[in-house]
Amino acid sequence: MIHVRNATKSYDGDLVVDDVTLSLKRSGVTSIIGPNGAGKSTLLSMIARLINMDGGEITIDGLNIATTDGLELAKRLAVLRQDNHITARLTVRDLVAFGRYPHSKGRPNENDLEHVNRALAYLGLTDLSGRFLDQLSGGQRQRAFVAMTLCQDTDYMMFDEPLNNLDIHHAVSMMKLFRQAARDFGKTVVVVIHDINFASCYSDHIIAMKDGKVAEQGSPDQIIDASILSDIYNTPFQVQNINGQMIATYYGA
């Protein structure tokens, strides 16, 4: 369980995350949606201890993230943000192998190599594993970073807009991968996502944020609702049930 209590963050006096309290259950895919500037990424980054809170407390399986040893947390929670820029020339395999660092401390054993190979295969990168990152397309690079995060093999995985740069085929397979990881291995995946229909079709739980607060949360059936979404995005929404999937359209008439 991840518990967030009264988390607050402001930049230059602007409250970005305003006294947020929420709990994330073990296992399942949770999507965080909301308009630009709603505080989604900031909240995610605070939970993943990339940004310090101005106030509040966050615990992961009862461990306070502010006081727990970094390596210990790294075995429980992995995070991937957007815009990962690396100046060093690394091969895909080297990058993915870094995911094992919390376990191997830089001395990978057989077991670690197996994890690396599995993560490469999961994301269809086996053939590209010898390539340097700067020889890849944006989508391939994005998958390489996701593979590194998977390779860390943590109970909690957080992704900030993981579908960026991905074409439809790879976006769908990545969301399926997250769902599979959650169902088969009991992982907890938290994604910040802009495409509402991806959130609708692949999550178990949706958190909708607006103005630094959690506006609504619940199952996709509850959140993907014309009036709730219209409220959150200040845009008229229509929601259709297509073959059991709740699909939102917002291309105003």
Binding site: R49, G70, A88, G106, Q152
Partner: protein
């Protein structure tokens, strides 16, 4: 491996070519110089590579943090305050320790202040480094203008990097410092690699980025202090060897890149000094050759980046 052979070859060349007379004297005389070259090669290359790892930028060198500018200021202030004669009379070992200490303390204050203060931004750190560098240079410039002309000549002499005038008495201290730094550094090689991924990924992988950044920058500034105090500012050289090492070993980890950079630095220095002594008859300073090559390389790097 090839680098190691080349390094040995250039070392032997440096020791033997053009040698006439008493071998005992030659070996001792040139051996001292060779040791100094090795120390400087080590200090410059390691400090630059580490610095670039932390800042995630391959065009920056510790000189941008104003460390060598501080060295110049330190020399100027010493001579300005006490006069050239008093400084010459000072025990060089004590002077060296004071200088190295000052540089390190300054660097640490700068880093600590910035990292544990309100700002945690590498760019801000670099900007303030740039600012301090400019400040130090301006103050030294001012002092040099109002200094006694005789003192100024002596000062200028000590500011140009020279591998001919290495002080023997400093070598022992430098070796000790470098060995100490290396013993600490080797233990956390793999952490250096993780730092390469940038702050977010490093934290996600459980490496305390801030603490390690400060620690690595501290190691780097100790090394800069060593090399600067030994032969003066040659920080451009670091850029050259660090980038050559990245080119020779693309995608390599620190445990390979660091030795490669050291060997390349050593090859450059020893063969450069050899050429200088035998070909140019000591008519020019090695620093000038290095700055020339380094400058060209720097322009090349920037141009290549622009194309991408």
């Amino acid at each position: 491996m090839i680098l190691l052979c080349l390094a040995l070859l250039s070392a032997i060349g440096f020791m033997t070519i053009g040698a006439r007379g008493n071998w005992g004297f030659i070996l001792e005389f040139r051996g001292t110089k060779l040791l100094a070259l090795l120390l400087v090669a080590y200090a410059v290359s390691v400090s630059t590579v580490l610095f670039q790892t932390v800042t995630n930028n391959r065009i920056l060198t510790p000189s941008i943090m104003g460390i060598d500018a501080l060295y110049v200021l330190l020399q100027t202030v010493l001579i300005f305050a006490f006069g050239a004669q008093a400084i010459s009379a000072l025990d060089p070992q004590i002077k060296f320790l004071i200088e190295a200490g000052c540089l390190t303390v300054f660097a640490l204050i700068l880093y600590r202040f910035l990292f544990f203060g309100v700002f945690r931004d590498v760019h801000l750190l670099l900007l303030s480094g740039l600012f301090f560098g400019l400040l130090f240079r301006s103050v030294s410039g001012l002092l040099q203008r109002i200094i006694d002309p005789n003192d100024f000549v002596i000062l200028q002499d000590s500011l140009f990097a020279s591998f001919n005038s290495v002080d023997k008495s400093l070598l022992g201290v430098s070796v000790a410092v470098i060995v100490l730094v290396s013993v600490i550094g080797v233990k956390i090689f793999s952490r250096f690699d993780v730092m390469l991924l940038g702050r977010d990924s490093a934290i996600s992988l459980g490496v305390n980025h801030t603490r390690n950044a400060v620690f690595i920058l501290a190691l780097a500034s100790v090394l800069v202090a060593v090399s600067t105090a030994l032969v003066g500012p040659v920080t451009f050289f670091g850029l050259l060897v660090a980038n050559l090492a990245y080119i020779v070993l693309p995608g390599a980890k620190h445990k390979h890149v660091l030795p490669a950079a050291i060997l390349i630095a050593f090859i450059c220095l020893s063969s450069g000094q050899l050429v200088l002594e035998r070909l140019f008859d000591f008519n020019t300073a090695l620093a000038i050759l290095i700055e020339f090559a380094g400058g060209l390389f720097f322009i090349g790097l920037i141009l290549r980046r622009g194309v991408r």
